[in-house]
C-alpha cells in the first residue's frame, strides 16, 4: 500500500514539527456486535493536525470505528474487539491505558448535540470540574479560550450563566465542540456533527473544523461527500465494515483506485 507513504509525505509537508509518526495508528482492528462483525481487519494511520474523514454508506461501521478511538464501545457488553489502536504509540486497549485519561486526550462531538442542562459556563468547564479543577481563574480562562476556539465567544459572552438549552442548534453543537476542547485534547472525534444543522450553521461548523486542525487532530465521520471534500485532508471510504480505500481527499474524489469508491463518490450507489 502506498497510502501510508502518501500519508507520511502529507504530514511531513505540512507539519514539520516535533510530532513524529502518526497521531493514531490502527492495526488489524476487528469488532463484533455479538456474532455480527461490524469492523473487518482495518488498518490505517491518521496524521497529526489534519482532518481525516470517514465516508461510506450508512451502516458500514463509521461510527463504530470512530468510537473505538476513545473506547466508547466499552459501554456495550456485547462488543468484542481485537487488533491494536495506538495513540501516539500507546495501545488504547492496553491494560495500562486508563480509559478516563484516554477520553480526556480524545474528545468527542456527537451527531445529536448534547449540551448538559446547565449554564453555558458549566457546560464548558464540565470536563475540567470532573478532573478536579477548582480554581476559578483557570476555569474562566478555559471558558474564554474554548468558546473562542469554538467560534462561539462573541455570541454568548454576555450570557454565560444562561441555560445552554436556550441556544440554537448550531450554537449547541459549537458549545459541544468548546466543551471538548476545554480539556485540551490531542484528538477530536466528530460523528456527523452537522447532520442535524441547517446550511448556515453547517458552514460555520465546517469553518471551525478547518480552524481546529491548526491545534488538534480531527477525525470526522460524514455522510456528506461535499463536506468531506471541503474540510478533509484525508478521506477513508468504508463499506460493509471494511476499509476500502484511504488516501488524500483529492485523490479519493478525483482518481480513486477502487471501483467501489468511484461508484460511491460519483453517487452511483450509496
Amino acid at each position: 500500500m502506498d497510502v501510508n507513504h502518501d500519508l507520511e509525505k502529507a504530514s511531513q509537508e505540512e507539519r514539520p514539527q516535533s510530532e513524529e509518526g502518526p497521531a493514531i495508528e490502527v492495526e488489524g482492528l476487528n469488532l463484533y456486535y455479538g456474532a455480527n462483525q461490524a469492523l473487518k481487519d482495518i488498518s490505517l494511520k491518521i496524521p497529526h493536525r489534519q482532518v481525516t474523514a470517514f465516508i461510506g454508506p450508512s451502516g458500514c461501521g463509521k461510527s463504530t470505528f470512530l468510537r473505538c478511538f476513545n473506547r466508547m464501545n466499552d459501554l456495550l457488553d456485547i462488543v468484542r474487539m481485537d487488533g491494536i489502536i495506538r495513540l501516539d504509540g500507546m495501545n488504547v486497549f492496553d491494560e495500562a491505558c486508563d480509559v478516563i485519561e484516554l477520553r480526556r486526550r480524545v474528545g468527542m462531538v456527537f451527531q445529536k448535540s448534547n449540551p448538559f442542562p446547565m449554564s453555558i459556563y458549566e457546560n464548558v468547564v464540565y470536563g475540567l470540574r470532573i478532573a478536579g479543577v477548582r480554581d476559578k481563574a483557570i476555569l474562566d480562562e478555559a471558558v474564554e479560550r474554548s468558546l473562542k476556539g469554538a467560534a462561539l465567544w462573541t455570541e454568548v459572552k454576555e450570557r454565560l450563566k444562561d441555560s445552554a438549552l436556550g441556544l440554537s442548534g448550531g450554537q449547541m453543537q459549537r458549545l459541544c465542540i468548546a466543551r471538548a476542547i476545554a480539556v485540551n485534547p490531542d484528538v477530536i472525534l466528530m460523528d456527523e456533527p452537522c447532520s442535524a444543522l441547517d446550511p448556515i450553521a453547517t458552514a460555520k461548523v465546517e469553518e471551525l473544523i478547518l480552524e481546529l486542525k491548526n491545534q488538534y487532530t480531527v477525525v470526522i465521520v460524514t455522510h456528506n461527500m461535499q463536506q468531506a471534500g471541503r474540510v478533509a485532508d484525508l478521506t477513508a471510504f468504508m463499506y460493509l465494515g471494511e476499509l476500502i480505500e484511504y488516501d488524500r481527499t483529492e485523490v479519493i474524489f478525483t482518481r480513486p483506485s477502487q471501483r467501489h469508491t468511484e461508484d460511491y463518490v460519483t453517487g452511483r450507489f450509496g
Partner: protein, 534 residues
C-alpha cells in the same frame, strides 16, 4: 351486486355511527368520574367550611305550648319535619331535636339569646337570667349582660393562671419521674443517690403544695356561676370557669360573625381537642400528620432513590433484576394493613423490644420503643411508599437521554460522576413525582397506623421543651385516624359530624398542600431541563 355494495356501505356507516356511540360513552364515563370528584370536593369543602360559621338561633312555639330553641340543621320534606340543634346536652341528653312543621305555630329570631361554648357538655343555648359571683346572687336587670361579659374576661385571665400552674405541675411530675429512673441507676446510699433523693423529695413536696393550691383555686373559681334558663324556663347554673366563649348570634352582624368564624378557624388549627375530640382544635393531629409524612419522606426518598439507581444503572439486566422489579411493582399493591402487621411485628416488637431491653430496661415493663410510636409509624409508611418512589425514580432515570450520559463519559467522567452530575439532577422530576405519590399515600393511610403508633388522644406532642426535644417513640395523632375516631367512635356521633367534615377538609388541604409544593418544584425542574431546545 350493486345492492350488495350498498348494503356493505350502509353497514359500514352504521359501524361508524356505533363507533361514535363508544366515543360518547367513554366521554360520559369520564364526565361521571369528574363530576363525582368535583361533588366530593364540593361536599367536603362546603360542609367543612360552614361547620364553624356562627348561625342564627331560631325559637319555635309549638301547638302544645312547648318551645324549642336552636339553629336549623336539616329539613325532611316528606315528613315535613325540621331538625334543630338545641345544644344543652346536659339538660336534654341529646343535641338535636326534630320538630313537626305542622305543629309549629310561631317562629322567630329572639334577640337576646345566648350561645355558650363550654368545656364540657357542648353548647348551651338559652337566656341569661342572673349572675352568682362568690355565692351572692342578683344584679339588677340592666347591668347583667355587661357584668356577665366582664366576669368572663376576668375568668379567662384566671383560667390562664390556672393553666400555667398546671404546666408547672406537669414539669415537676416529669422531673420526679426522671429522678426516679436516675435513682434506680445510682448506687444506693451513695452521695449522688442521697442528693438525687433529696431533690426528688423536694420536688414531690413542691408538687403537692402546688396541687393543693390549684385545687383550692379551682374550687374558688367554681363558685362563680351564671344562671341561665332554657327556652322553656328550666334553670341551669353554669360555672363561669366552664365557659370558653359566649356570643349572641342573633345580634351579630355579618362581619362580627366573620370575625368569630376566623377566630374559630385559627383555634381549630392551633389548639388541642376537647371532649373526646368532638370539640376544640386539631393542632396535634395536623402536627402529627405533617411530621409523620416528613420523617417518612426522609426515610423513603434516599432509600428508594438508591434502590432505583442500583436497579437501573448498576445491576446487570437479567432474571434476578427482572424478578426484583416485578416484586417492587407488586409491593405497591399489597394491602396497607399487611404493612401495618409487619411494622408491628418487626419494628415495634422486634426492634423496639430489643432497644427497650438494651437501653431502657429500667423502665420495663412499661415500654419505651417497644410500643407503637411516631418512628415506627414513619418507618412502616416509608416501607409502604418505597415501591412508588422506586418505580417513579426508575422512570426518571430511564428518561435521561443516552446522548447526555455518553457526552459526560466522553469527557472523561466516571460512571459515578456522570450519575451525580448529570443523570440524577435530570431525573429529579421523576423522583419528585415519586415523592408526591408517596406523600399523598402516606398522609391518607390510616389502617397501618392504627397498629404502629397512632393515638386517639396523645398526651404530649412528639416535639416539646423536654430534652431531647424530639421524642420519636411517642404516640401521635393523625388527621385520618381522627376522622375515623370522631366520626364513628365518639359517643355523640351526630354532634361530631361538622368536626368530621372540618377534619376531612383539613386532611385534603394538607395532602394537596404538601404534594402541591412538590409539584411546583417538579415543574420548575422540568422547565430547567427542557426549555427551548432548538
Amino acid at each position: 351486486m350493486k345492492s350488495k355494495n350498498q348494503a356493505t356501505a350502509k353497514s359500514m356507516t352504521r359501524r361508524h355511527a356505533r363507533g361514535e356511540v363508544w366515543v360518547w360513552l367513554s366521554a360520559a364515563g369520564m364526565l361521571t368520574t369528574v363530576l363525582m370528584l368535583v361533588g366530593l370536593l364540593v361536599l367536603v369543602t362546603v360542609n367543612g367550611l360552614s361547620a364553624l360559621w356562627p348561625r342564627s338561633i331560631h325559637e319555635f312555639e309549638m301547638t302544645d305550648g312547648s318551645k324549642a330553641l336552636g339553629e336549623l340543621t336539616k329539613r325532611n320534606k316528606e315528613k315535613a319535619g325540621t331538625q334543630i340543634k338545641t345544644g344543652n346536652r346536659d339538660l336534654y341528653g341529646i343535641d338535636f331535636k326534630w320538630l313537626e312543621e305542622s305543629e309549629i305555630q310561631n317562629q322567630q329570631l329572639p334577640d337576646d339569646v345566648y350561645v355558650l361554648e363550654r368545656l364540657e357538655h357542648g353548647q348551651f343555648v338559652g337566656y341569661l337570667s342572673d349572675l352568682k359571683l362568690l355565692g351572692q346572687p342578683a344584679l339588677n336587670n340592666e347591668n347583667k349582660h355587661s357584668e356577665f361579659k366582664r366576669a368572663l374576661v376576668t375568668m379567662s385571665a384566671k383560667r390562664d393562671e390556672l393553666n400555667r400552674w398546671s404546666d408547672e405541675m406537669a414539669d415537676l411530675n416529669q422531673n420526679v419521674e426522671s429522678l426516679r429512673l436516675a435513682l434506680i441507676d445510682t448506687k444506693e446510699n451513695s452521695e449522688r443517690w442521697q442528693r438525687l433523693r433529696e431533690e426528688s423529695i423536694s420536688d414531690e413536696t413542691e408538687f403537692e403544695v402546688l396541687r393543693a393550691k390549684v385545687e383550692s383555686f379551682r374550687v374558688e373559681l367554681m363558685t362563680q356561676k351564671v344562671v341561665m334558663t332554657d327556652v322553656n324556663g328550666r334553670i341551669k347554673e353554669i360555672a363561669l370557669f366552664q365557659i370558653l366563649r359566649s356570643y349572641q348570634p342573633n345580634q351579630m352582624s355579618w362581619f362580627s360573625r366573620l370575625g368569630l368564624y376566623g377566630k374559630r378557624m385559627s383555634e381549630l388549627i392551633t389548639e388541642a381537642p376537647r371532649e373526646a375530640n368532638t370539640e376544640g382544635g386539631l393542632f396535634p393531629a395536623i402536627f402529627g400528620t405533617a411530621i409523620m409524612v416528613i420523617i417518612m419522606s426522609i426515610f423513603t426518598m434516599p432509600l428508594g432513590v438508591i434502590a432505583a439507581v442500583y436497579l437501573r444503572e448498576y445491576a446487570k439486566e437479567g432474571f434476578l433484576v427482572r424478578l426484583v422489579r416485578i416484586t417492587v411493582n407488586n409491593l405497591a399493591g399489597v394491602p396497607s394493613i399487611v404493612y401495618g402487621m409487619f411494622g408491628l411485628g418487626f419494628f415495634v416488637y422486634g426492634i423496639g423490644g430489643t432497644i427497650d431491653e438494651w437501653f431502657f430496661s429500667n423502665r420495663l415493663p412499661s415500654p419505651t420503643f417497644g410500643t407503637g410510636g411516631l418512628l415506627w409509624a414513619s418507618l412502616t409508611m416509608a416501607l409502604l411508599t418505597m415501591p412508588v418512589v422506586i418505580v417513579a425514580t426508575e422512570e426518571g432515570l430511564s428518561a435521561v437521554p443516552k446522548g447526555l450520559r455518553e457526552g459526560s463519559l466522553a469527557l472523561g467522567a466516571t460512571k459515578l460522576q456522570t450519575l451525580l452530575r448529570v443523570v440524577l439532577p435530570m431525573s429529579m422530576p421523576g423522583m419528585l413525582t415519586g415523592l408526591i405519590l408517596a406523600i399523598a399515600r402516606a398522609a391518607g393511610e390510616v389502617a397501618p397506623l392504627m397498629l404502629v403508633g397512632v393515638a386517639k388522644l396523645a398526651a404530649n406532642l412528639v416535639v416539646d421543651d423536654v430534652f431531647p426535644y424530639f421524642h420519636p417513640e411517642r404516640k401521635f395523632m393523625h388527621l385520618g385516624f381522627h376522622i375515623y375516631d370522631v366520626g364513628f367512635q365518639s359517643p355523640n356521633v351526630e354532634a361530631a359530624i361538622p368536626m368530621v367534615f372540618v377534619t376531612t377538609l383539613l386532611l385534603l388541604v394538607m395532602v394537596l398542600g404538601l404534594s402541591g409544593t412538590a409539584m411546583v418544584l417538579r415543574q420548575r425542574m422540568r422547565s430547567r431541563y427542557t426549555s427551548g431546545a432548538f
